[in-house]
Symmetry: C2
Subunit: 511 residues, 2 copies
């Protein structure tokens, strides 16, 4: 199923860029009205002009900052955000909302956003940071959109709470970015996508402020927040949100189960997703993935199963999950292990120390992966990921097509390489398969060819173009194929009503 | 907290209307293009012209059908739905999509929809009925929008499946109606609102057909289906949907817990909602509600706790839920009871026979209530309900204001009456309180006064104007207060793009 022609390091790897980036002179000066909170330093301009998609990384390594934003503005409240939008609208400048800049799909690109306009303004939300208010009874926290993952968790921890949302970009991405791109969290089931964690949000548009009504649930018309979730900076600037938070988990229970046949593992993951047990982890790794992430050698697929609770031990839950996995031909290779962070024996490192070694290895590898990508790039190895979601019925065909298409593309563009698969999330109606490919790097056209082959394959097999990487510019052609034409019309109509000059992140989502 | 001045039956109750309704002559003839599937019989016209809001019931009892639809059309496929919209648009007739006609908020009103137009067409979806396709592996079923609850469940049962969605109107309402009004199901937590059960849907608008992409989840832009869910017939006609279905539950476990103090019961319900146990039932009834629904006498509040699973016994889940209830001062008054519908002892009536008597009494009373309302009306007693959702923090103040305002309104308009409260759904961030009021009937102005008092009170205390009764015409003024102005602009823009002549359910949602 996977091709194991490991790539050789390329001798053509470029040297690191100089410390002081070289940028063109800004096309415009900082307007007086924005001078108190704006910058044109080369470093600020470079840091807020791109995301972390493969072409972004290549350009960064090459020191190519030709299209850098003309100015970076860091408004300190919603009124200053409004002022930025006013100025941009009056001058017809492009305005690119900037969170952590971790888009892997070309969602942040000052050069492309400029188009034919006189200037691009990067609207950096870094100053709208912090946990502003906590409601312990209702388990809610009002948080600034510019808050980075670690700061957010640290502030919540002081209240004994957590948002429990860990996208892979956690360290460098922000709440506002998660909301604008409908980020997926680390957990496999239950409330894990940022949408489900959002109680209410505030967005500033060129035509005013939109604050959604605060309620746990409502049947009053279409849900307003759902139009902003996934709007990718094209409809407004999310400034803050009331988020659903929870106490830190106390009890953990986990096990790892191996399957000789990947599709037996798929059936086990499906049974778990449809069981009503709501595991926090139900991650199926194919044999290559298990090996790459240092979870398991030996050519078998592995299903990592984990449960967490702040309320009760998860013994019965894990026992039933293991039964289901065994029913589908699985063999336990690690665990079952349980821990209670409040008990002396289980309290080490908040219960993490007693996680099964396979799950622990996985977790570490998960957060290491983006660093590894950059390291590989610096020695001339192309490594990237893409993901989708489809029904359980569609999956076998989709998987075969994707692996076939990407393998062929790697052969053609890199002279070989490898592709691996894991499930990041599982739903009763289908999995979210996540693919990694690795090959020898020559130039960005290779990456484009492989991405196109992968996107064509998954799209033609019925998968969505992205489960949690957003649309940006990279996925736009396939997004437009899967988006109902009339929904495209609806988005354009809303954009016309809220942003009639089209200044917000031009070229993204609405063309 | 509740006022127990029981109303007297009024001698002014009106006689039942004659069997053949008297309707005005239709303003227009049936166009040739619609003749194969349309009717102007008085019975059809009357049956598809109103919902079941209090003013609808009063008008029905009085035999007042002055504003009946001019014609009823029953398209047999999406192409015929498109044809109806074409004809309506060409003639500028109003078109009111009609599912089961159970709106309790004036969402179906042929007379008001007509406004100044030449005619109103009721677009009855009854012919788009049935389960068209089942995907057992992915647990999905493609179902016609006009399918009534019982037919839907009967057809799914042949596949061993259920939608597990039981709004109180279940017998008489349709899938399309549930989707268009974001119906709430019978279950207290987990996937219970129809939105969460919807995998994909197809909608016909005057500008074409919109079929959302099929996927278990996606991060590609704002979710298209969410713009149609809750659109109340004002943006398009939902014709069919892929719904998430499940096997029939096999294991059930339940108990009832009494609380001397209502707010101790509230705290227990909150603990349960925040526990991660996902009970299918977590219904708190105040003392009046417990008495009215024949669950319990004696002046205590009751929390009905229930779990269901098709996969595993719920012993551990119920045990922890009972612990939580006891921690908050509750006393078990019924159960714990468990059943397994596959075992000989627990198999009677699909496990229902061994439900606790309190839960069984509740369930029966729940489905009897709408019949009771009509029966009470016929003997001159006003009885109606309203509901909301708010945060746990807001609830005590909201509850006090609502009970106070409704009691005063009952005093002023009916010379007394009673008001009771239950929770229909509980979320980690707040409950959905549901209120019933009963008083002596004089005329519809009483009802309007009480509804206004209740709506003002809950709205000013931060509650949403409706958790699952939709907006219709009754809630429109309060909906417009809670809806962000810019979201209203967005809906108007989409309406303008999809329905430029404004023929679809005029006056509802978008004005």
């Amino acid at each position: 199923m996977v091709r194991v022609v490991l790539p050789k390091a390329s001798p053509s790897a470029r040297p690191l860029p100089p410390a002081d980036p070289i940028v063109p002179a800004p096309a415009v000066a900082i307007p007086d009205q924005l001078s108190a909170f704006s910058s044109q330093s080369p470093r600020d301009r470079v840091m807020c002009s791109r995301g972390r998609a493969y072409p972004d990384l290549l350009a960064g390594f090459a020191g190519d900052h030709v299209g850098a934003a003309d100015l970076v503005t860091r408004p300190r409240d919603a009124a200053e955000v409004s002022r930025v939008l006013e100025i941009c609208e009056a001058n017809e400048w492009s305005c690119v909302p900037f969170g952590g800049g971790t888009s892997v799909v070309g969602g942040v690109d000052a050069a492309l956003a400029r188009g034919g306009r006189a200037a691009t303004v990067a609207l950096d939300l870094a100053a709208l940071s912090g946990v502003y208010e906590v409601d312990q009874t209702s388990r809610l926290a009002r948080i600034g959109a510019g808050t980075l993952g670690p700061a957010l968790e640290q502030e919540l921890a002081a209240h004994g709470l957590t948002l429990r949302h860990y996208p892979q970009s956690f360290e460098f991405s922000t709440l506002g970015g998660w909301l604008a791109t409908r980020a997926g969290g680390h957990y496999a089931t239950g409330p894990t996508r940022i949408d489900e964690l959002c109680h209410a949000l505030t967005t500033v548009t060129p035509r005013g402020v939109l604050a959604t009504h605060r309620h746990p649930s409502s049947g009053a018309g279409p849900e307003a927040a759902r139009l902003l979730l996934g709007s990718e900076g094209a409809l407004g600037v999310i400034t803050e949100a009331w988020m659903r938070v929870v106490p830190k988990p106390r009890w953990r229970a986990s096990a790892s189960v191996a399957f000789a046949d990947f599709h037996a593992g798929v059936a086990a993951a499906r049974a778990l997703a449809q069981s009503g047990l709501y595991p926090s982890n139900a991650r199926l790794l194919d044999a290559t993935e298990a090996k790459l992430h240092r979870v398991r050698e030996g050519g078998t697929s592995v299903l990592l199963i984990g449960f967490e609770s702040a309320d009760h031990p998860m013994t019965a839950w894990l026992a039933r999950a293991i039964e289901l996995a065994k029913d589908h031909g699985g063999t336990i290779v690690s665990g079952p292990t349980e821990s209670d962070s409040a008990s002396p024996s289980g309290g080490r490192a908040g219960g993490e120390a007693s996680m099964t070694s396979a799950a622990g290895a996985w977790r570490q590898a998960f957060f290491d992966a983006p660093y590894l990508q950059s390291a590989l790039l610096s020695i001339g190895i192309l490594s990237d990921t893409f993901e989708t979601a489809c029904t359980w019925t569609q999956f076998p065909e989709l998987h075969a097509r994707v692996v076939g298409a990407v393998s062929r593309a790697l052969d053609e563009t890199c002279g070989g390489g490898l592709v691996s698969c894991r499930f990041t999330h599982v739903y009763p109606d289908g999995p979210a398969p996540y693919y990694t490919f690795v090959g020898e790097l020559r130039d960005v056209s290779q990456w484009r060819a492989i991405k196109a082959a992968a996107s064509d394959a998954l799209s033609s097999a019925g998968g969505t173009i992205t489960h949690h990487h957003a649309v940006g510019r990279t996925h736009q052609p396939w997004y437009e194929r899967e988006r109902p034409a009339l929904f495209g019309t609806a988005l354009s109509s809303v954009k016309q009503a809220w942003d009639p000059r089209g200044i917000l992140n031009p070229g993204v989502l609405v063309r």
